[in-house]
Symmetry: C2
Subunit: 314 residues, 2 copies
């Protein structure tokens, strides 16, 4: 499939490369790496995003802005056209080549390079780009490393395979700015984010004999700290990190009396999706979500009751 | 040197393997891996520690407790005999083989296998153990992976090289319990630790136009949370993580009016060792320490003044 995709890319020109909405390191790293590579072999290419977050701007270095009539559409790290955000309408049904690593990929493109064994989409690109005849420049390598490192929590998540580590080793060997990338991606928090964590930790409550922990980002806290939606990401991992906690619950007030709830469990004992289905939600065995209404205390009481029942039957 | 060390280990028997005080994943991983390997080739061996923290107990699995008269002493990940803690007196001057990766190693052993390019001491053992004729059993692999992962912050720190990643890839390929190890080492916090972080974040103060951030673990906080010394580790990285902060200062009250201060800087602009030398301390360019006396406010005022001067001249 890699050779077929490479042949297709070599044949065609005027590429629009689509990334998913709420872009992360892997979709942007894939998009920019492919764009740099295509431009380096004389093709016209550009990356279509819904915005590039500040921390990822450096990854665009070396890309030449180009205007052209689109001939070829490639999606990277996009599992479903729904995830294209504001670009969905313009590109629906027009994807020629879909490069992805999500097992759940449902894009009906004529050519699909989908490898669910790859920890990151950038892992696939590391093997595809040389087949294009493109050199793995420092810019390309930085993009690929960023995608692989961010999608694996810097090689910490269970999706990390021996191949992932070997791919990263090869990139590091060729040279990339890992010190800078790791610092920005994994060791930097905004002042607001730090203030948010401080407020959130103040809301931590334990129940069910400390086997369940709940935190709540109320509108009051969100307004006081002045965070936007994006800055609320990643909170869900906090309560589950605590030793002995089997159900970690993160409540995020969306509007007064409406809480978006993220549930994280050690999937072996409590199934997060089953837990959330009681509240009309769903998800995966270890990570799921739902919406609960009521005052903070009412919503919390419902969740605590469900946690007690789940742990009782576990 | 590896072949020479292996030949020495094959010749000798009755091994005491020394680890450093306040043991971490790399010294214990090295010690247990070497012990399992030596026992597997029919040698008598035991690991001498100053205690095994709870999270590392699983690494001892498969080691057979043995009594014997010591014939050979091997130190692992120990840069200086001073670091042997309570075992120093019994073993001073008696180390036959020193296996280490610290550039600053000063142990005068007849045989030294010191490789400062290795990110972790376990990286050296990965290449040494097969030379012994020992099989890399799952127990050995788990120890080596733990040492490498913990000493590199799960491949995030700048000591991580292509060789480090390749070594980890080889271990993962052979099979090790990375999901369990990464969870315990990088994603689990005790309830007390979480409570401590919450209290500590409440003390966060910014100065010098937000280019310096200070946190303080006062005795009051330590007593309230009920933490012991070990649980205070790792706090020093918190203030430096904040975007824009060039000097991160962590104060830890040791006794009333005496503060142990950890300073972390982006070494390129402010040298942490120079900063601390004003207070009679020292260390590295990016991480240094000193002791400051006075009330919390007095001590903080001195540090803030020094931070202002350092940033002014930077």
């Amino acid at each position: 499939m890699i050779k077929q995709a490479a042949a297709f890319l070599r044949e065609r020109d005027n590429f629009d490369i689509l990334t998913h909405d709420f872009p992360d390191g892997d979709t942007l790293g894939s998009g920019f790496a492919l764009c740099i590579a295509l431009q380096s072999i004389g093709k016209k290419a550009r990356v279509i995003t819904t915005g590039v977050p500040k921390d990822f701007i450096f990854l665009q270095e070396g890309i030449v802005p180009m205007s052209f009539d689109t001939q070829t559409v490639v999606s990277v790290d996009v599992a479903d056209e729904k995830l294209l955000g504001k670009n969905r309408e313009a590109y629906a049904g027009k994807i020629d080549l879909c490069i992805d690593h999500h097992r759940t990929n449902v894009i009906q493109a004529p050519l699909r390079l989908v490898d669910a064994e790859a920890a990151a989409n950038c892992e696939i690109l590391y093997y595809l780009l040389p087949e294009l005849g493109a050199e793995l420049t420092r810019g390309v390598r930085n993009n690929l490393y960023t995608g692989i490192a961010t999608d694996t929590g810097c090689f910490r998540y269970t999706n990390t395979t021996a191949k992932t580590l070997r791919t990263a080793a090869a990139l590091v060997e060729l040279g990339c700015d890992t010190a800078y990338i790791n610092k920005v991606m994994f060791e930097t928090k905004t002042k607001k984010r730090m203030a948010l964590e401080r407020e959130i930790l103040d809301t931590m409550e334990y129940c069910c004999g400390d086997r369940c922990a709940i935190i709540a980002a109320t509108l009051d806290i969100q307004n006081r700290v002045g965070v936007c939606d994006g800055e609320l990401e990643g909170l869900a991992s906090i309560p589950r990190q605590i030793e002995g906690v089997e159900i970690g619950i993160t409540m995020r007030e969306k509007e007064p009396g409406v809480f978006k709830v993220s549930v994280r469990t050690d999937e072996t004992r409590v199934n997060a999706a089953t837990f959330c289905s009681q509240f009309g939600g769903g998800g995966h065995a270890a990570a799921a979500g739902c919406t609960v209404k009521g005052t903070l205390e009412q919503a919390k009481a419902q969740l605590e009751k469900a946690a007690g029942e789940a742990l009782w039957t576990a």
